[in-house]
Symmetry: C2
Subunit: 276 residues, 2 copies
């Protein structure tokens, strides 16, 4: 069957979006659509221009025999600002206040459309660095980790609080939780990572950074390197910060249980130059 | 700016894939691209035919003033078979054998590309039913639940083993775990579901179905209805099955620790008419 350009464009767009960060040889498309490489190149120029025009992402072309095309997810700053604004609006509702000054955000972590957008925001910031895996702690970081991972096409590694038989042999570390200063345990399956990998760590909430710091120590046990830290919500506090280089979308300044108000501002995503 | 058809097709494909199961009014596209509705209709015909030809999904057109177009994810049977085959091949490696006859599959649950495909497989089976939420139990079901949810555009609800302050008020139930016959507890945040919702429950592994049955009981506490059960791997066993109507991708028949062999077959996805 001979494919028309219009049909090729639709299918190619789907294929590229479904295979982020993967080098796709032009011959794959040429074979798939029974078309000349020159036609495929012209198609890709249209896709590339539209992706850039609409802020969907970049198409990188690698020339030569081993070359091809690679889709790199990349959101524009104004789109990132919209994600942050939408998220802050949702998070700022006073009915999210829980006893002890906590905020209920489980529903937001369960919203696949929001998580997909958040994932693309962080993927945009880290897409140009070599990243081999995304690490998080069970349970609430998992949706964010998977959302980022899908856009960067790398595996997710989940650290647990307890060891389970289905994890096989594990490595366990003790660390000091930031605010409560209690000794806690983190467990990771030995098979989860290979030494030398570059790992992005992520979580839904960070105060002093004790959990993040625990994950950092765990990376050292595996001879892996920290590639970055992505936090959905960081909270202001008086203690010493344990983690220095991180990106956050939203900053929680104050929760007033009496007046039932929540003070939020944009996180450091732009000031730390996330989307350089 | 005036958009060319080729550019509209690329952008429209991205937009539709990013908004599954949502009715999109034609006027939205007409405004977005500064184009006549008749041109948009012609574009959509091309997208629709390509989506069907390549097995990406269906485009449903709803006529009338309140009408529009809806993308419904739908994989072809041969593509589903390929997902199952790839998954079985991965799962059948003897180095996955753990003491006690368990299988290590954490890495597969952390593979975003595989999870995306698995999610689309289950979404294809349930896309035509009204589903309001996907429920799973922490931790290992979460990636599957989110993968399905993204294709069906519904929220994910995570049941926990323990209550946490960040969950707010919770509903807790006791249930009998299938194989070990121990009393266990399940906890769900009260805000997670509204009464009357239709809920698809999912997990990575099912033997007798005790955990699934626990989730079913929890649904009753919330006056919600069971819309379906999706299991990645079901295991053969001699006890009475607690869950009757479920879809599984793979069936684990036997694990031989001495010979280090794993006997797997296709699950009941096709025989139970998943992709009707």
């Amino acid at each position: 069957m001979k494919w028309k350009r219009s049909e090729r464009l639709v299918d190619m767009t789907h294929y590229l979006l479904d295979h982020p960060q993967q080098l796709i040889p032009l011959t794959l498309f040429a074979d798939m659509y029974q078309s000349a490489k020159s036609s495929i190149s012209e198609d890709l120029t249209i896709v590339k221009e539209t992706f850039e025009e609409k802020g969907i992402g970049l198409l990188m072309t690698v020339p030569g025999a081993a070359g091809g095309v690679k889709y790199i997810p990349r959101m524009r700053d104004e789109a990132v600002r919209e994600v942050i604004k939408d998220f802050m609006e949702e998070l700022g509702h006073s009915d999210r206040l829980l006893p002890g000054g906590y905020l209920f955000m489980t529903d937001l972590l369960g919203n696949p459309e929001l998580m997909n957008r958040v994932g693309k925001v962080f993927a945009s910031a880290f897409a140009k660095q070599p990243i081999d895996a995304i690490m998080t702690v069970a349970t609430k970081g998992i949706p964010i980790a998977h959302a980022i991972a899908r856009h960067l096409n790398v595996p997710v590694v989940v650290v647990r609080r307890d060891s389970k038989v289905t994890e096989g042999s594990t490595v366990s570390i003790n660390y000091v939780s930031g605010s409560s200063r209690r000794i806690q345990t983190m467990v990771l399956s030995k098979r989860s990572m290979k030494s030398g990998q570059r790992v992005l760590i992520t979580d839904d909430f960070m105060k002093v950074g004790g959990t993040m710091n625990g994950m950092k120590n765990l990376l050292e046990e595996f001879n892996c390197q920290l590639a970055g830290v992505a936090v959905l919500v960081e909270a202001e506090h008086a203690d010493e910060q344990l983690i220095e280089n991180y990106l956050s979308l939203v900053k929680l300044h104050e929760v007033n249980e009496k007046d039932r108000t929540i003070a939020l501002t944009e996180g450091n995503y732009f000031t730390k130059g996330g989307n350089e």
